[in-house]
């Protein structure tokens, strides 16, 4: 336990604790959490990032010191929201908590309710965890899912990289990159977060134990790559000589692969298919053996789909059009026009995404040109195979985010080949250049990960309002939001309410109206007419989360949301049933 191992993480930990203790999140602007974080937070990141990276590019990366530094860096980068906010961020986290609470309350699932009850792995496990750790509210621990899954993800990428290369520098650099490039925000309490780390685990086992020299198709592809890239150098001896395995070990690997895959299958709808695409591509090349393993994994995946086929096909559609570009660019129902600051944030995020994919491609090409076509293909194929999902699915406008995530672990490895020396160590200037690059990427990560937190933060008052609605609300009543961005399906009894997916005035054409300073009863009647379309009893919800959504998308211009609320509050047709600075709930009273 030398000072080299602990000094920087210890000082950074103190700086970080100071930062989270002094951050106030009462009035987040269009750049989210970033302006609210004090300088000590940025100092903590710098104090960890610089030595972590310099150790990772050093000729002999010190494993113990790097492990401590990387863990601290990941906690600071991915755990700040959990430490700063009083309630878990993202309004959509709460529906996952709601399903978990349902499992705890009723001791089971009801597949007729929604799709979460049909892929209940995470919710059942979280319900079990809630029960055996005291039976409290799962909301008490779900916020820490983000740093926990990020830590596990970085450790898994380290394992994956060690499975495809004997170079410790590549392995550690890939692990660091996985911490600073995963901006997608899928590590929150969600099925995809669990399935994602399981997916990397399967990739590790497969790459380590079940890959070998390519078959006829793979050899053909290798020849093509050599011809296109004009690779003259011969394939060097395997960089990572595979240790022979005993039959018992091989059997164990197969069992573990199936175990991890099946756990992902019962947890998430999309991840197992992405994994199948990756492994299927390796199997076609003849790199992965035995082929029947992929067939069996596919069988398990289909086995889970069959009883749910009609439901999924009827509600969402198995395929949403064979237009890759259309699927990639389709967005969830977007209202209004994004504020300029948000557009800039989106462009910075796009820069990060382009760096990852183009960097990985260039890294794989450089690797191949050095003669190591085989290892370049072993990484590049699973990195880019998930893009094939774009051919058939838009996944509610989120598919590009998911494809990025699925490809990220492998891309992190390929990116390091951009600067990996053919022999010897990196020169000091090259180390400084890569450090500057990684610092820039970390800045882009911070923008992408925390820049939208004006929309992601959920104040406790808003959580309390959702709790009251779903717990005490009139059975079969409709809940109408003024604008999106409010926790829905929250609490064990979320099915009591009539409409599961909450509609909003904004999505029903009210967003562009400038409500007069003295909104009239006729204006309110329009709102009531709309509510009638959903149910006779109902609630209208105003919250700070919706106000921020409206501000970011320039809807309800000129304070018209506040004027509408004033009219609703003054109307005899409504009665305020919940009142707090961050949320107000009005019940119909006619």
């Amino acid at each position: 336990l030398t000072p080299r191992t602990w000094a920087a993480p210890a000082v950074a930990a103190l700086l970080w604790l100071h930062a989270v203790a002094t951050t106030t999140t009462d009035d987040l602007g269009l750049w989210g959490l970033l302006p609210a974080l004090p300088l000590t937070w940025y100092a903590a990141v710098a104090l960890l990032l610089v030595p972590t990276w310099l150790m990772a590019v050093s000729p002999r990366p010190p494993a113990r010191a790097l492990g401590v530094h990387l863990a601290a860096l990941v906690v600071v980068l991915h755990g700040t929201a959990a430490a700063v906010y009083e309630a878990p961020r993202y309004t959509f986290t709460y529906k996952h908590i709601g399903v978990t609470e349902y499992v705890v309350q009723y001791g089971g699932i009801d597949p007729s309710i929604d799709i979460y009850h049909r892929w209940p792995g995470l919710f059942a496990a979280a319900g079990w965890l809630t029960e055996v750790t005291g039976g409290g509210d799962p909301i008490r621990f779900v916020a820490w899912s983000e740093p926990a899954f990020a830590l596990l993800g970085s450790a898994a990428v380290l394992a994956l990289a060690r499975a495809v290369t004997a170079d410790e520098r590549t392995a550690w650099q890939a692990a660091v990159l996985s911490g600073v490039l995963n901006w997608v925000g899928q590590n929150y309490f969600s099925p995809q977060a669990v399935a994602f780390v399981l997916m990397i685990g399967v990739g590790t086992l497969v790459a380590r134990f079940l890959t070998g020299p390519p078959g006829p198709v793979g050899r053909l592809v290798e020849r093509l790559v050599r011809a296109v890239l004009r690779v003259r150098l011969p394939e060097p001896p395997a960089a990572l000589p595979r240790r022979p395995t005993t039959p018992a070990q091989r059997l164990l690997v197969l069992v573990l692969v199936l175990l991890l895959h099946f756990a992902a299958v019962v947890t998430h709808q999309l991840t197992p298919y992405a994994l199948l695409v990756q492994l299927g591509a390796l199997a076609v090349l003849g790199v992965l053996r035995p082929l029947w393993l992929v067939v069996l994994m596919g069988g398990l995946t289909v086995l889970q789909l069959v009883p749910n086929f009609d439901y999924v096909n009827g509600r969402f559609g198995l395929f949403s059009g064979a237009d890759p570009l259309g699927n990639a660019t389709r967005r969830p129902d977007v209202l209004g026009v994004l504020a300029d600051d948000k557009v800039l944030q989106g462009r910075l995020t796009l820069l990060l995404v382009l760096f990852v994919w183009l960097g990985a491609l260039a890294g794989a090409v450089r690797r191949a040109r050095s003669g190591q076509v085989r290892s370049a293909l072993l990484v590049a194929v699973p990195a880019f195979a998930p893009m094939s999902i774009l051919v058939g699915q838009a996944y509610g406008g989120e598919v590009r985010l998911r494809v990025f995530l699925f490809s990220l672990p492998w891309c992190c490895i390929a990116i390091t080949w951009l600067w990996a020396p053919v022999s010897g160590a990196l020169r000091s200037r090259a180390r400084a250049t890569t450090l500057a690059l990684v610092a820039g990427l970390t800045a882009l990560f911070a923008v992408s990960f925390y820049g939208a937190d004006d929309l992601n933060e959920v104040p406790p008052d808003v959580v309390e309002a959702a709790t009251r609605i779903y717990r005490d609300g009139q059975t079969d009543a409709a809940v109408l939001l003024v604008a999106p961005n409010f926790p829905d399906r929250y609490g064990p009894d979320y099915t009591r309410l009539g409409v599961v997916a909450l509609p909003s005035l904004a999505s029903e054409g009210f967003a562009d109206r400038t409500w007069s300073p003295r909104a009239t009863e006729a204006d309110v009647d329009e709102v009531l007419d709309l509510m009638d379309e959903f149910a006779l009893d109902g609630y209208l919800v105003f919250s700070s989360t919706q106000e921020r959504y409206a501000r970011a998308r320039s809807i309800f211009p000129g304070g018209s949301m506040a004027r509408l609320e004033a009219a609703v509050a003054a109307s005899p047709s409504f009665r305020r049933v919940f009142d707090s600075p961050d949320a107000r709930v009005y019940a119909r009273d006619d």
């Binding site: 494993a63 492990g67 499992v103 001791g107 089971g108 699932i109 209940p120 792995g121 995470l122 059942a124 496990a125 319900g127 079990w128 965890l129 029960e131 055996v132 750790t133 005291g134 409290g136 008490r140 621990f141 820490w144 926990a148 596990l152 450790a155 898994a156 380290l158 394992a159 060690r162 499975a163 669990v194 780390v197 399981l198 685990g201 590790t204 086992l205 380590r208 134990f209 240790r243 022979p244 005993t246 039959p247 018992a248 070990q249 164990l252 690997v253 573990l256 175990l259 991890l260 099946f262 756990a263 992902a264 019962v266 947890t267």
Partner: protein, 132 residues
């Protein structure tokens, strides 16, 4: 070529199944797993999810996952990572089986899981006949 292949074949290909980790490390992991289980129980009694939840996750990985993954003879970091993932997968599947079969008995399952983990890890951490 056949001659070359014959020469390249390593002598270690003789099937042997030595324990994956030295006895000292296996015992350390057994102790860490038991300590995690203890932390989980204390956290549950004191209603401190910050202790109990990581305690359960770590205990499952160390007591159940380690004995399963260690025979693969991987490096320590990879072994621990895969052990945690294996423990997590086992938990997911156990809980999925409970809700899918309408047999929701979380505390019974917890006791059985802990017993299985303790037994498995105890057997794994015993001195073996062949210990490098």
């Amino acid at each position: 070529v056949r001659e070359q292949r014959g020469r390249q074949r390593p002598a270690a290909s003789t099937p042997t199944t030595p324990p994956a980790l030295p006895l000292r490390q296996r015992r350390a992991f057994l102790l860490a797993g038991r300590a995690s289980l203890g932390v989980a129980v204390v956290g549950a009694v004191l209603d401190l999810p910050g202790l109990s939840v990581p305690g359960v996750v770590l205990a499952t990985g160390l007591l159940l996952g380690m004995p399963l993954v260690a025979p693969l003879e991987l490096d320590l970091a990879t072994t621990v990572t895969l052990a945690l993932l294996t423990g997590m997968a086992a938990l997911l599947l156990m809980c999925f089986a409970m809700v899918a079969s309408d047999l929701w008995h979380p505390h019974v399952a917890a006791v059985l899981l802990a017993a299985a983990g303790l037994q498995l890890s105890w057997a794994w951490a015993r001195p073996h006949d062949v210990d490098p």
